[in-house]
């Protein structure tokens, strides 16, 4: 079958890209070949617009065992103990079909971790939605949370944290990111098809017509009025199959039966067959008649690009074939030999005895187009930055405080995380609701901390500063719980890269993230870029979600954010700049403003704070970083989490001091006897520390006003559940 002139456009390829394919093949591509190119050269799979920028990121460090380019980054967290850590996005599918979009996002990241030979042990779900006043947003929140809950709980991987941010710019482009932590149990696997003569075994669910074009027509284009019609491009998840797939693959790996392993996600069978061979310098002959299918009558191109879920491709020595099939049969999952590694560099696809595709594997996997797209700083950013946030005092400080506390961005996310199993594996030392989750690795004393942060508003006002702030906040969260920041993964969510201002935002985000990661010695181990988060020409705020991983020194104590004992001393560490209101929660909630410049970050000051938190770990009883909502919200959260009030002793805290979002700050407490040690540690680290009050009593006494803890609790705990519970009925 030959192709028609406009077909490539329907598949999402440009005229120029079509020409490149013709040149590379020296002939017209077949229909199947064109379909394979369309998914592998899609933005989602090829990173064609982002590659030139991504390579500027710092990716090496003493703890980094595997950096970007594999299924997940691998980081050594203790001598001889390695974990896998990776973030992904499932934004577009989740908007079209929230339950299955979010569920299959979980499934996809779990298989990424599995492909490295790691057992997935924890998930985090950073989510962004529009305003909860909008009925469709409430429907999306309910569907997405239910999808994550349904899938994550069934496969038995705890969801230990995440974020939920509500901002109008995400109304028609919700962000459903997901990060997964895994632990290497036996040996590291690689997605390589080494050794001609070895066989390729497709393991897992049957291939159907779901998810055709998920990577190309859905994830790599803007949304418009017809987006609903793209529902068939959303995959359907089956967590039961995924659970069996996890157990079967881990057994295959620990039994030493595999040469190579890769997951099937975006791009379907086209992806691992081309990538595994391209990396190994081999080729593969695939007979797709042997692909186990869900339905008859599928065209070869459908088999090659279907994104049916819960599938892995294993490369196996022929002598081990029966053992592999036996393990799969015992777990009750289908497995079939579909191909053979060959010594040429070509990917040959055979259907009913006929070659339907014959292309160089590297042409699909590595030699796709690379664009250094034009970029330009948009004029509107000067206008937005030149407006100053309103600083006039609110009529009632107490009232302003309660309004900020009840903002869905600040209020408790319990309604969401109580739907997630966050305890399975008996390793969740600190679960959702803290600064970072703390996970004890299975059958081990090794503890790691993970968190995600992505301040979209700051990045809208200044993408470079915003990205630096995102990394700094993530590192601060890790340090507050007692761990040392080690490495990041990320999910970079932006608009249409074919637009100059979006591309400029992207390049600034990369520059900011890179600078902060270099300064804080937390290399980038991989991640994901999600472009085309635009609907009807309106883009989201550039939103880099940073997933930070940290590890605990053997003697370090895990610290929570909640106040502990009556009489404990409250110390504010770090300097407050009262003008740091740009992009703040206070400005948004009280004045409906997102203007000015984001808070100013000095990475040396951030490093000093991190050093203080590590140095004073033994004296600190509780620690909480200051971020959205500033000091007022940090104190309230610490009191609510600890179930005990406080009384401030200082009377110079006005609305600016209370709600400024200056970075590099934390609220820590210590026993009265530990106060001198705290100040000594602060001096050693070179940070400003100020005693501001004591823990105790049933009220939150800010000096200028006070609030009963019980009243604040009903506001804080009720805000999200009230709007969401009323929505669904």
């Amino acid at each position: 079958m030959t192709t028609t002139a406009s077909l490539h456009r329907e598949l999402g390829l440009t005229d120029d890209e079509f020409e490149q394919i013709r040149d590379r093949l020296g002939r017209e591509p077949s229909y199947t070949e064109l379909a394979m190119f369309s998914v592998m050269w899609s933005e989602h799979c090829s990173y064609k617009s982002s590659r030139v920028h991504l390579k500027k990121l710092p990716t090496e460090g003493p703890n980094i065992l595997v950096g970007p380019g594999e299924g997940a980054g691998i980081i050594e967290v203790a001598p001889g103990v390695a974990v896998a850590w990776k973030a992904e996005s499932h934004n577009h599918p989740s908007f079209v079909e929230p339950f299955n979009g979010a569920a299959t996002g979980v499934g996809g990241i779990v298989r990424d971790i599995l492909s490295m030979g790691a057992r997935p042990i924890a998930l985090m779900d950073p989510l962004r939605f529009g305003s909860l006043d909008d009925a469709r947003t409430r429907y999306l929140v309910d569907g997405v949370v239910h999808g994550i809950s349904s899938y994550g709980n069934s496969i038995g991987v705890p969801t230990v944290g995440g974020e939920a941010v509500f901002e109008e710019c995400y109304a028609e482009n919700p962000l459903v990111n997901v990060a997964c932590l895994g632990v290497i149990e036996d040996k590291l696997m690689h997605g390589r098809a080494e050794g001609p003569g070895n066989i390729a075994i497709l393991i897992g669910s049957r291939t159907g017509r779901d998810g055709i074009g998920g990577a190309s027509v859905l994830a790599s284009a803007e949304f418009d009025e017809t987006s609903e019609e793209k529902r068939p491009s959303v995959q359907v998840g089956d967590p039961f199959s995924e659970k069996l797939l996890i157990e079967a693959c881990l057994e295959l790996i620990s039994s030493g039966l595999l040469v190579g392993l890769q997951d099937l996600g975006a791009g379907g069978i086209s992806c691992p067959t081309s990538e595994m061979t391209s990396k190994a310098g081999t080729g593969m002959r695939v007979d797709i008649d042997h692909v186990h299918r869900r339905e008859p009558g599928m065209e070869p191109f459908e088999v090659m690009i279907s994104e049916s879920q819960e599938r892995m491709l294993a490369v196996v020595e022929p002598a081990r074939r029966d053992e592999v099939l036996e393990v799969c049969a015992r777990w009750g999952i289908d497995a079939n030999v579909i191909g053979e590694v060959i010594s040429s560099d070509r990917l040959e696809i055979v259907s009913e005895g006929e070659v339907v595709a014959d292309v160089p594997a590297a042409a699909l996997a590595e030699e796709g187009p690379i664009y250094d797209r034009p970029l330009a700083r948009p004029g509107w950013i000067d206008e937005v930055q030149s407006k100053l946030p309103t600083t006039t005092p609110p009529a009632s400080l107490a009232d302003a405080f309660m309004r900020v506390l009840s903002s869905p961005n600040i209020a408790s996310k319990r309604w969401i995380w109580e739907q997630y199993d966050h305890m399975i594996f008996l390793g969740t030392l600190q679960g959702p609701g803290g600064d970072a989750a703390v996970i004890r690795l299975p059958d081990s004393d090794v503890r790691v901390a993970i968190t995600t942060d992505g301040p979209g508003r700051y990045c809208y006002l200044d993408p470079y500063e915003g990205a630096r702030l995102a990394v700094a906040e993530a590192a601060r969260n890790i340090a507050c719980v007692g761990a040392k920041p080690l490495a990041i993964t990320n999910c970079l969510n932006l608009g249409n890269p074919e637009k100059e201002d979006v591309m400029w935002q992207f390049s600034e985000v990369i520059r900011g993230m890179g600078d902060a990661c270099t300064a804080l010695a937390t290399p980038v181990t991989g991640g994901n870029v999600s472009f085309y988060n635009e609907t009807k020409g309106r883009a989201i705020y550039p939103t880099p979600v940073i997933g930070m991983l940290g590890a605990f020194a053997p003697e370090a104590e895990v610290r929570g954010l909640g106040f502990i004992g009556e009489g404990d001393v409250i110390v504010l560490v770090g300097e407050t700049d009262p003008s740091d209101l740009g992009g703040s929660e206070y400005s948004k909630v009280i004045h409906a403003e997102v203007v000015g410049t984001p808070p100013k970050l000095d990475l040396e000051a951030e490093k000093a704070l991190l050093a203080f938190l590590a140095g004073a770990n033994a004296t600190i009883r509780s620690a909480h970083d200051l971020s959205a909502g500033g000091l007022a919200v940090a104190l309230a959260e610490a009191a609510l989490a600890g179930g005990v009030g406080f009384a401030l002793e200082v009377d110079d805290l006005d609305h600016l001091a209370l709600f400024s979002e200056s970075p590099s700050r934390a609220v820590v407490t210590c026993a009265a006897a530990g106060e001198a040690a705290i100040f000594a540690a602060a001096e050693r680290a070179g940070v400003v520390a100020r005693r501001i009050g004591v823990v105790g009593g049933p009220n939150m006494r800010f000096g200028a006003f006070e609030t009963a803890l019980d009243e604040a609790r009903s506001t804080y705990e009720g805000a999200l559940s009230e709007s969401l519970s009323s929505s669904i009925k």
Binding site: N153, S154, I155, G156, D238, F240, E418, L426, L429, P442
Partner: protein
């Protein structure tokens, strides 16, 4: 000699490793038993762990009751051996008719993973002997279908017979009479929605789960000593 604990693994079970770890920490000798076996190894206690046996398709526990191992579990129980079903395991026991009643979707129609307080209604059982009557214990729940129900007349009998063993202090899921855990007539089979294996270490939030699991081990020791 340490107690031998057989943990039944259905495809889709996911709390079997947690149960294995906790029973080992308590000094027992746990072993996994695949659902497709038609006989149990020589065990003193059978555990049906939490998870989503057979994907929980059709209805929770509805397919698992037909797994070959279940007739061996029934025989083990008939012979006086102890069996505990936790969460999904409780659902399987109800479906298999080894415990009365059925588990429906939570009243709030949401999955719930949270710490709950339970009162020990009957401390004179092989599953609660380490606690005293009326004691409040803290153990997490983790389920969508934990809303237990039975016919009112059946409930009267269960109460009269002391088979209602654990009740929620603050009913989270709509269970009839706040029932969280109950035993069969002979007190050899016990099912509960909360996860005692998740509450056996203070660093995880509570050690009260060991009261339940440890009571079973005590029972065996007492029996062996007689």
């Amino acid at each position: 000699m340490s107690a031998r604990v057989g943990i039944v693994v259905f495809p889709g079970s996911n709390c079997e490793q947690d149960c294995e770890k906790v029973f080992r920490d308590l000094g027992a000798e746990p072993m996994m038993v695949w659902h497709a076996e038609d006989a149990l190894p020589d065990v003193d206690i059978v555990v049906l762990p939490g998870g989503f046996a057979h994907g929980d398709y059709l209805r929770t526990g509805a397919l698992a009751r037909f797994s070959p191992i279940m007739s061996a579990v029934q025989k083990h129980s008939d012979a006086g051996g102890l069996t505990i079903g936790i969460c999904n395991g409780f659902q399987v026991l109800c479906e298999a008719g080894m415990l009365p009643g059925a588990l429906r979707k939570n009243a709030g129609l949401k999955f719930l993973c949270k710490w709950v307080d339970l009162t020990v209604d009957n401390a004179d059982t092989p599953f609660t002997s380490r606690a005293e009557p009326g004691r409040v214990i803290r153990i997490p729940i983790n389920h969508f279908e934990g809303n237990w129900y039975c016919e009112p007349a059946v409930l009267d009998d269960l109460k009269a017979n002391g088979q209602i063993v654990l009740r929620y202090a603050d009913n989270p899921n709509g269970s009839l009479d706040s029932v969280a855990g109950l035993a069969n007539e002979n007190f050899t089979v016990f099912g509960l929605m909360p996860h005692p294996e998740r509450a056996c270490e203070s660093i995880l939030g509570s050690e009260d789960g060991a009261l339940i699991l440890g009571s079973m081990l005590d029972h065996l020791t007492a029996k062996a000593g007689v």
